[in-house]
Amino acid sequence: MNHIKKECVAMLLAGGQGSRLYALTQDMAKPAVPYGGKYRIIDFPLSNCVNSGIDTVGVLTQYQPMVLNEYIGNGQPWGLDRAHGGVHVLPPYETASGKSWYSGTANAIYQNIGFIDRYNPEYVVILSGDHIYKMNYAKMVDFHKKNNADATIAVLEVPWEEAPRFGIMSANENGEIYEFAEKPKEPKSNLASMGIYVFTWSKLRKYLIDNENDEAATKDFGKNIIPAMLDDKQKMMAYHFDGYWKDVGTIDSLWEANMDVLDPNVPLDLLDDSWKIYSRNPVMPPHYAGPNSQIENSMVAEGCDINGMIDFSVLFAGVTVEEGAIVRDSIIMPNTVIKKGAVIEYAIVGEDCVIGEGAHIGERPELVEDKSSWGVAVIGHHVNVSDKAVAPPKAMISKDI
C-alpha cells in the first residue's frame, strides 16, 4: 500500500506504568489518568499534535493498555480519524524471530521503524504522556529546520535547586547543546529536558539501529541515543519553552497540577478557543447544583449532581455529592458517589468509587501534629469505602475498606 508522504510523524510513548501514582495506575497506564475535570493526561500531547498540524501519531502502549485503547478509539475526538495518517495505537508484537516487549523508549521506537517508514517523513517528533502543557510543535520543527539540526530538544529553565531531578542540557549562546547529564548531582546548567524531541528521521533511524545492536545499551533516549549523537558531534539544538509545563508523575504533582486549573494566576487557559484541548466527552447532561449546594473555587464537570459543600476541588463528570457531604482541596474522578455526611479533604479519589455515609478521607495539614505524617490521601479506582470508614492522610487505598 502506498502511503502519502508526511513531513512529520509524532510518536507518543504511552507504555509507562507510572508506578509512583500507585493505586491510580493499577489498572490503567499513566497517560490515561484523569486530569483537570474532563481530560486524561494524553489529551494534552494529542491535542498539541492536532493543533500543530501533525495528523499522524503513533501511540506506543504496553502497560495496562485497555483503558487507553478504548479511550483513543479511532481518534475522532481529536480529529485524528483520518483517511491518510491519523492516530494508531502501536502495542508490542510477535515476529518470526520471537516476541519482544518494548525494553526502553528507544527500543519502542526501533520496533516501529516500519510504521514510521511507511510515511517516509523528514522529521519525527518524540513525545511522552506524562506532562500537562500546551505547545506548538510546528514552531519547534521550524526551529529544527532553520538550524539544520539533527536533533532538537525542548528545554525549560528550572530553579537550580530542582535541576538534579531532570535531564540537564548545557548549550552555547547559539542554542547548540554540547553536554547532557541525566539527573546530575551538581548541575552545570538549569536547562531541563522536557522529554520532547524532534529528530531528522534519517539520522534517528541510524542511531536506533546502532543502539539496538549494542547489547550493553539500555535502549533509552536519555541514556543512549542523546549521548551517542552528542559524542558524534551531531548538531543538537535546545529549543526554549517558557509556558506552563507540569510533570504529573507523582501523587503530589498530580494533585498540584489539578489545583493549578483553579488558580487564575497559573498560565494554563483551558478555555482558550485558539488552542483547544480535545477529549472524549462523556454523554452526560449538564451538572446540577442542588438547592443545598455550596460550591466555591472549584471546577465541576457535566453530569455531576451536587447537594453538599465543595471548596477548592476538581469534580470530574458524573460525580454525585449528597447532602451534608464536604469536599475540600480534593480531586474526585468520574462517576464517584460521595454519600451523606462524608468528608473528603486533601485527597484524590479515583473513578467509580463509593464513599460511604460519614466516611472521612484525608485531613487538613493544620490539624495534623506530626507534619511528616501528612500527605494527600488516595483512593484508587472502583473502591468502595464503607460508612464511617476513615482513610488517614497519605493513605493509599486500592481495595474496599
Binding site: L271, P286, P291, Q294, M299, V300
Partner: protein
C-alpha cells in the same frame, strides 16, 4: 417484535416555528437551544437512536445552517454510518419539488430517500417537544394492530390558548381515532397529538403519490381528517414526561421542569442518553464568593456571582456581585459585575452590562435578542 433496523426515522425540522418567533427568527425549530447544551432535534433524534433506528432523514425548509452545523455527520448520535445513518434533506432536493407548504409536500420532496431506505416502517416526528421516548412499543403497537397510521398522543390539561396551537385526537376504547381536531377552541383535559406518526413505508409512498396528483399538502387535513373513515388510524397514548414547546412561556416552563429531579432523570436517563454536539470546552468554574443554588450548568461557564434557579448554557459568565434568578441564559451570555437579571431569557451572545437591572415576571419572562448588549 418488529426489527428496528427496518424502521426509517424522519424528523421535520421547521414545523411550528410561528409559535416561537423569538427563538426561531434565525434558526430552525430543530436547532432551538434547550436545557443548557441541547438543541430541540436532540430529543426525537436520540429517542430514535436509543430505540435502535439506524437511518434518519431530517427534512428542512429554511434557516438550516445552524442545524447542519449542529448535526455534522451525525457521529455524536452514532449515525455516521456506511449504510443508513443521518441524511439532511433540503428543499429542492428532488425534481418538481420546492418550498413545501405542508407535511405532504415535504414528504414528496423526500420521496426518493424514503423509497431507497427500503425500510418496512417509517416513523416521523416533529422537533418541538422535550421527551426521551422509547419508540419500540409504538412500532409494535402499529404492527400488532395492523394500523394504516398510528398517531402518538399524550393526555394533558391545556388552556384554550395552548389547544389552539395543537392537533387534538378523539380516541375510543379500542384506541381507534374517531375524530381529529385541528387548532380547536377548547380547554381542559384532552389528547394532544405529539405529531409522531407511524406508517408502513409502502403505505406512506402511496399517500405521497396520491396527494401529489391532487395537489394536497396538509397531512392533518387531507389525510387524518378527510381519510379518517377510509384508513385505520390508531392512537398510541404516551405516558412518559413530555412538554410541547408552543410559546416562549412553555419554553420557559419546560426548561424549569428540568430542575425537578424525577423529570431530569427521566429526560436525561443515563442508559438512554440524549446526545448532542460535542463542543470541547473545559468544565464550569466557580469563583470565590459565588453562590449557586438549584441550577443546571453547562461546561465552559465561569460563575463569580449569585445564581438561583437558572439554566446556564455553555460559556456563560456571571460576574462578581451579579445576581441571576429564575432565568435561562443561552450560550456565551455575559452578566457583568453587579448586574441583576431576574425572570428573563437571553438568546446567544447577549451581554448585560455592569450594574444594569432587568426584571421580567415568571408568567411573562423578558426575552433579550441574540447578540444584544443591554
Amino acid at each position: 417484535m418488529a426489527s428496528m433496523a427496518n424502521v426509517l426515522g424522519l424528523i421535520f425540522a421547521n414545523m411550528h416555528e410561528q409559535n416561537l418567533p423569538e427563538l426561531t427568527k434565525a434558526r430552525a425549530m430543530a436547532s432551538v437551544p434547550f436545557g443548557s447544551k441541547y438543541r430541540m432535534v436532540d430529543f426525537p433524534l436520540s429517542s430514535m437512536v436509543n430505540s435502535g433506528i439506524t437511518q434518519v432523514g431530517i427534512i428542512t425548509r429554511q434557516n438550516y445552517y445552524s442545524l447542519m452545523n449542529h448535526l455534522g455527520m451525525g457521529s455524536e448520535w452514532d449515525l455516521a454510518r456506511k449504510t443508513g445513518g443521518l441524511h439532511i434533506l433540503t428543499p429542492y432536493g428532488r425534481e418538481g419539488t420546492g418550498m413545501y407548504r405542508g407535511r405532504l409536500e415535504a414528504l414528496s420532496g423526500a420521496a426518493d430517500f424514503i423509497r431507497e431506505s427500503n425500510a418496512e416502517y417509517v416513523i416521523m416526528s416533529d422537533s418541538n417537544f422535550v421527551a426521551n421516548m422509547d419508540l419500540r412499543p409504538i412500532i409494535d403497537f402499529h404492527a400488532d394492530n395492523g394500523a394504516d397510521i398510528t398517531c402518538v398522543y399524550g393526555k394533558v390539561v391545556y388552556t384554550s390558548e395552548r389547544a389552539s396551537h395543537q392537533t387534538v385526537l378523539c380516541v375510543d376504547g379500542d384506541n381507534v381515532v374517531y375524530d381529529v381536531l385541528s387548532h380547536p377552541d377548547m380547554s381542559g383535559e384532552m389528547n394532544v397529538a405529539l405529531n409522531i406518526y407511524v406508517m408502513r413505508r409502502r403505505f406512506l409512498e402511496d399517500i405521497i403519490r396520491e396527494s401529489e396528483c391532487r395537489a394536497q399538502y396538509s397531512f392533518e387535513t387531507d389525510i387524518l381528517q378527510h381519510k379518517l373513515h377510509e384508513y385505520k388510524i390508531m392512537g398510541y397514548k404516551y405516558d412518559g414526561y413530555f412538554e410541547i414547546i408552543d410559546s416562549l412561556r412553555t419554553y420557559y416552563k419546560a426548561t424549569m421542569d428540568m430542575m425537578k429531579r424525577d423529570i431530569r432523570r427521566e429526560v436525561f436517563a443515563l442508559d438512554t442518553p440524549i446526545y448532542t454536539k460535542v463542543r470541547d470546552v473545559a468544565p464550569a468554574k466557580y469563583g470565590i464568593d459565588c453562590d449557586v443554588k438549584g441550577s443546571l450548568i453547562a461546561d465552559g461557564c465561569i460563575i463569580e456571582g449569585t445564581v438561583e434557579n437558572c439554566v446556564l448554557f455553555r460559556g456563560v459568565k456571571v460576574g462578581k456581585g451579579a445576581v441571576v434568578k429564575n432565568s435561562i441564559l443561552l450560550q456565551n451570555t455575559v452578566i457583568e459585575e453587579k448586574a441583576s437579571f431576574i425572570d428573563a431569557i437571553t438568546d446567544k451572545d447577549v451581554t448585560v452590562t455592569k450594574n444594569r437591572t432587568i426584571t421580567g415576571s415568571s408568567d411573562y419572562p423578558i426575552f433579550v435578542n441574540k447578540g444584544a448588549t443591554v
